[in-house]
């Protein structure tokens, strides 16, 4: 079986962005600091990757103030769900095609 490697979604295909999507897919919404702890990234690095996912329409952000401190809460969108599902299917196809 041949597999088209170009089908891999470049927006998700990065260690940090994959991890962010994997965390968000199991949650309703997650705060920036929670994601930072889970993916072990610095503030700047995480912001850049979240922006990429946001621009692709895979995640949405809600900004609010809690005890006068700004808080950003991230949520996966339906487009993001679909893209992540496709990404996992593609990974499985790569494994299958290489086994044959």
């Amino acid at each position: 079986m041949n597999y088209d490697y170009q089908q891999i979604d470049d927006v998700i295909h990065s260690r940090i962005r994959t991890a962010i999507m994997a965390v968000l897919v199991g949650t309703d919404e997650a705060e920036f600091n929670f994601l930072k702890e889970k993916v072990n990234a610095t503030d700047g690095n995480l912001s850049v990757h979240l922006k990429k996912l946001e621009h692709a329409g895979y995640v949405s952000v809600k900004k609010l103030f809690v005890d006068r401190k700004p808080v950003s809460k991230y949520k996966i969108t339906s487009k993001g769900y679909k893209a992540f599902e496709n990404y996992i299917n593609n990974l499985e196809n790569i494994i299958k095609s290489n086994k044959k």
């Binding site: 994959t18 965390v23 949650t27 309703d28 997650a30 705060e31 889970k38 790569i94 290489n98 086994k99």
Partner: protein, 200 residues
Amino acid sequence: MESKQAELELSLIKKMMEDTRKLNIDNGIHYIFWGILVALGLLINYLMLVFKFYTKYIGFVWLVMMVSGAVADILIGKYQSKRSKVSTYAGRILTSLWLASGVAMFIYGFVGSFSGAYNPIFICPVIATSLGISYFTSGSIQQLGWLRSVSFGWWAGAIVMFVFPGIHTLLIFAIMIIMLQIVPGLLLNKKSKELFTENA
């Protein structure tokens, strides 16, 4: 992308998703809050009956306690949700389950008895039966076998209170609330704290 890299990515995704799934544990605050409030209400109700103290106001005392409890619970929920670092779908389902359960218990407790459909002494076993359903479902959602088992305690107690009704029903129900609601709430709170410390 090579097959090995794809396998690594899949295992990373699986691990992250499993870690997040573990966070689907209720923090038990609502169990403790309602447990203390209802146990207190039952004790007040029992004493009012024993000492024949303004017994015609028992329903009113319950109404004031439950309505103020519901308002306080909504405020606690809002406070917690604003400050929680993460919320899960399971958490949302649990909130809906307990909200629906609360509305049902309100109907059983107030509408059921005020309408004269049944003797108020049977409110306790009816509510215990309803709580059994909620505990069974809640334990299944959180994948906590011990919490699901608590429902059998509620149902067993409900049978006892249906078969042997009387003023003592209030005390039996108060003991059940402490053992089957406050204690599980404390255990959930401990477990939830441990999980968040592990994940922090």
